[in-house]
Amino acid sequence: MGRRKSFQSFKRKYAWVFFIAPAVVVLLGIVIFPLIFSLTLSLHEWNIIRAGGWTWSGLENYATILFLDPYFRTALKVTFLYLLGTVPLQFALGLMVALILYRITRKIIGFLRTSLVFPSIMTPIVVGIIWRLMYNPDMGMLNYFLKLLHLPPLNWTGSPLTALPSVMMADIWEWTPFMALILLAGLQALPQEPFEAALVDGASQAQVLRYITLPLLSPVMIVAILIRLMDSFKTFDLIFVLTEGGPGMSTEILNYYTYKYGFKFFHMGYASALSWLLVVIVTVIAMILIKTIRSRGIYAAGG
């Protein structure tokens, strides 16, 4: 009996292993193993379509990327331009929209919230198609609007000067509502007492915004910005449909450059090294994000 009991308590103590093991094993197999595989590959030279196996090259791929590859530098520059041109704008516009919607108490708010959801949950490829249609130089809506304003038509995604801003504009359309939605949820979960107190003290609207709303909302703002920042590095679908990285390299962010090296040029070793640089960048942001989530429970109104 005593033995049975100790077996029972042993079973109880380690029951978690049974629950967690399948998922952890699967993740090790499909994520960690491939990542180690690609780390190894990144230390080799290997072109998948040419005959011949892997050739050990040590850190050569990384050295080439960091010190010799001028295209990498261009891709890096495009990536940062892309981030700078989208995330801050999405945040500012999203905050504005959230502050407006926060005041709407009528029934229409349900409809408005639903509309906010769609751009970010829509099939990204379809978002790309929508904007390809809008930007079409011959029949597109945007050139029609320009015509109405008596402005000359633009070759939106087709010219090196306007291609990047065009992709950014589509990105801003896709993700600003997401920012607004999160910030609105954050606003709705704020405690009411500080606002009531400010009202009693006769604070102006601008003061309330500056000294109460924004500071209280800051954890949600940080999370929203970090998520967007991290996901922006991974933008692929939109660029694929709108420009395929071109014209030239004008819209080729690091993510797309890596894809091209792997699946257009088939330099798997070099592409693996590039992808590991991306992993490092994204991991740093992910760590900051996780630390933020861990340090404090961040609340937002879901319903």
Binding site: T114, I121, A185, V223, G302
Partner: protein
């Protein structure tokens, strides 16, 4: 005086709201309008606002292209993946929510961090491995690979739902002699059923929408919807009728499902960072 400034403010407020939502809603509406135009109407400039709508594109896309097969492939991949990741994910989520062991919190966050990895990093080794295993261009390679982002997502979402359930009921069932697994299956899981349904729907949408893995891992047989639609974009020109009709058809399940899970979207889209 105060009355009028208040009124002006209100008008500005309404105008801004209308402009913002027109910008959000107009592009998809334009997609829909183009999809019900004849080729001649679709290509006319300035765009035609008044035209005779046609369902020709919607009929033709099924008749003359493999669109139906793309849909079937997408359905197979998305539903199988949802099922597998829910089975694995809710088990793990329950384990992490109910048992506190050394490193349990670190393990949770490690799983979350996997969700954040750039897919392009995984795709290179995965492609090589699957090529070696000769399972490229099958729905099963996508079912498997979509676990990389859906499994961590489910673990993280469901962990939150399990933690919200008071554990007293489960504890009394354990004392009554139920096994741990029975408690999970017969008591805990039914209690989080609404959350489970919402998570399942989001996971389905993620699989349905996925493009990069599908582009690289499928060839001609297992082509999913997003990759299939792109095929109407050729060097020789874009078949706008098919592209727009295909796009609208791809959006239909997403729109319906989104309506159903409104309540959990903020949590879902932020990976549970916001509760």
């Amino acid at each position: 005086m105060g009355f009028t400034t208040g009124k002006i403010k209100k008008i500005i407020f309404v105008v801004v709201t209308v402009i913002v939502f027109s910008i959000i809603l107009f592009p998809p509406i334009f997609l829909f309008l183009t999809s019900i135009k004849t080729e001649l109407d679709a290509l006319s400039f300035p765009p035609k606002w008044i035209f005779i709508p046609t369902v020709k594109n919607y009929v033709q896309i099924f008749k003359t292209s493999s669109f139906l097969r793309y849909i079937v492939n997408s359905l197979i991949v998305a539903s199988t993946n949802t099922f597998v990741s829910l089975a694995l994910g809710s088990l793990a989520a329950y384990g992490l929510a109910r048992y506190k062991f050394r490193g349990s919190e670190n393990l949770s966050f490690w799983i979350l961090s996997i969700r954040m990895m750039p897919p392009v990093a995984a795709i290179i080794p995965i492609y090589i491995i699957m090529k070696k295993l000769r399972i490229l261009d099958t729905p099963w390679c996508l079912v498997m690979i979509y676990l990389t982002f859906n499994l961590p997502f489910i673990v993280w979402m469901m962990k939150g739902f399990f933690e919200d359930v008071p554990r007293e009921i489960e504890e009394s069932a354990l004392i009554d002699g139920c096994s741990e697994f029975d408690v999970f299956l017969k008591i805990a899981l039914p209690l989080v059923a609404p959350g489970l349904a919402a998570t399942a729907i989001l996971v389905f949408i993620f699989s349905w929408n996925e493009f990069l893995f599908a582009l690289i891992l499928t060839g001609t047989r297992a082509t999913t919807l997003p990759v299939g639609i792109i095929l109407y974009m050729k060097e020789t020109g874009i078949n706008w009728g098919y592209m727009t009709a295909g796009g609208i058809l791809a959006l239909i399940p997403v729109v319906i499902f989104t309506m159903l899970v409104q309540k959990h979207l903020v949590k879902g889209l932020t990976l549970g960072a916001l509760k």
